[in-house]
Symmetry: C2
Amino acid sequence: MRQSFLFTATRREAPKDEESTNAKLLIRGGFLHKEMAGAYAFLPLGLRVLENIKRIIREEMNALGAQEILMTTLQRKELWETTNRWDDKEVDVWFKSTLHAGGEVGFGWSHEEPIADMLKSHVESFRDLPVYVHQFQPKLRNELRAKSGIMRGREFLMNDMYSFDSSEEHHTAFYNQAIKAYERVFERAGIGEDTFMTFASGGAFTKFSHEFQTIIDAGEDKIYLNHEKRIAINEEVLNEVVLQELGIRRDELVEVKTAEVGNIFNFGTAKCEQLGLLFTNEAGKRVPAWLGSYGIGVTRLMGVIVEKHHDEKGIIWPSSVAPFRMHLVALPGGETIAEKLYGDLQSKGTDVLYDDRVSASPGEKLMDADLLGIPLRVVVSERTLKEDGVEIKKRTEADSQIIKIHDLLAYEVI
Amino acid sequence: MRQSFLFTATRREAPKDEESTNAKLLIRGGFLHKEMAGAYAFLPLGLRVLENIKRIIREEMNALGAQEILMTTLQRKELWETTNRWDDKEVDVWFKSTLHAGGEVGFGWSHEEPIADMLKSHVESFRDLPVYVHQFQPKLRNELRAKSGIMRGREFLMNDMYSFDSSEEHHTAFYNQAIKAYERVFERAGIGEDTFMTFASGGAFTKFSHEFQTIIDAGEDKIYLNHEKRIAINEEVLNEVVLQELGIRRDELVEVKTAEVGNIFNFGTAKCEQLGLLFTNEAGKRVPAWLGSYGIGVTRLMGVIVEKHHDEKGIIWPSSVAPFRMHLVALPGGETIAEKLYGDLQSKGTDVLYDDRVSASPGEKLMDADLLGIPLRVVVSERTLKEDGVEIKKRTEADSQIIKIHDLLAYEVI
């Protein structure tokens, strides 16, 4: 894509109404626009990153055998009353409104209830199980505070997956596979090393839930971690019983600040029992299905990636999620060759943003390249052409090098 | 995809609470699940159709030079008050709620206001124009009645595009290009022949807006049409002045029932003036931009396709939007060869649904194939194998034919 075509402008100054690093950098780079606290629009570059993250998640969830669906934002009061989760005293993040046709309506903040209810039309016997479904669903949550950019949204995109199994054995097996899939997602998104499966409160249904927590300074959570053994415990379940069960001493753990990028939850058979999602088992008896619920905050993940990968000059995108793999920059004297290279790179299928702007100064172009954070910068200028070359520089490295023009087309952008 | 893998079950009986053909067939086929009146979840087959429709629209809008973005559902009261469109007396489809942090919030039913407001951060001079943006945005509208399935949703997906130009000349040129792009979308989606650009009320800003109306019995609109001259007039502007202007007599027009699949609107400079989206023109003067607004109801379009293309047995998808191009059906005696063919077709990259179900009878499989409406049905059975062949049948045709097995792999699925 030609940068002159992009309508978004970069900014030198951080917006004054933002506290978080992710929002400051993403707005400065023109990835996001703030609509209101906790609600951000995705501009072309931001949408490209979001789609890359979605692609990674989609591949991993599909590989687990989960089928993609898309439920609704509008939610029925009657359904949520069944599980006592309509009441604002039980769930404090509902947005609710009134139908002109009469009655109250809610805006989806989670989807266990409608998904389990929907499956009543499709699951009759043990032969219809297991069913694994997932979706990329915009969630709306009436959060009291929203100062962490896209790390805590009133409106955000979630990938939520739900597993329905006919036995505890199958349920547990899938739950463990899902843990591995989640680990692959975070690994592929460039935060694997700093993301830890964390034991957290299981609520009424099970001993533990499992969170995926990423170490960042701006994190709103606190976990207790043994880095070497990769054992992590959320502060809410840090007690003697749990320490003993996990075979670790309190003094082997250090306190770290983290952001939760994923959460998986075992509902056992309780939720399906409440909602009446029963099936006829092999003995001919009607029994409830086993439910697992799995969520990745997709937009939050994007925020966490920025918090993790940036420097004072801007963002440093991991290649897997970068809006483009290569940033071709034409500086004075290099315009003609850059133009030709852009054509050649496009023919080759290279994912390239081409800074062809005539109005921007060399300094502005290089500052913008650092701010946008595309993994490989390729500069063409009078200076590089004297050596019959282009200057390549990785965003992660300080040093650049000159390579021959014809070598650029053979260069593997990783 | 193996049909045994799909979790959705088909139904012989239409749901009792649906009046519209599109909802009845789409629910019977397991494409949709009704969450409440006017709000439907998209199940795997339905989501595939929706993504195919989105792909067509995305290609055409990108070809116009529109950049894809994604605005928010949550809307600021203050912004919409600027244009006097917050008031329920002015706009009667708002869903509104209250923020826990204080203040009212709306749920987006249209996006001219936030998009024009957002662009104030990116457009400064005539050099920054034109800007063309589009998005696939779930819209929420508090409709009093919602009985037309996905043809009139309280929650629905829209592709909305906005053009911002620096002069009337450029603005008009783009507006006319957009008309052509819309015509290509409806053509590619299989409803081109029955879809007419229709003169409709322009409101306060311009003489006419332009609707794209598709002739269907279940349509909620009424237009006056001259089929041969392809002139169509919405009843709201059917008067002597308009007839004269368009050079047609009343008795040359017939009344037909239609559904509106697209609508384009010329705001002139009025909306940008209201919202303060000004730019510095070549003479150094601050002037408002020219705004065009273009919308396709994506989910409605899917409903209209079903209304247009079905028979008493089920849906007849146009290939371009079908959930799969080929439906391979294994009947008794054909299972082994079908299994091998499925592997071969997949290696070849054919988009195929494979009915490998062992629990379904031959009759059920064939009834389901008609209901699901995939363009090409390929049956493998003892009978076809006696002729060393498979039976192929187009969903649009009554007759089938036997072709040799090795010819199937060379068969071009259109």
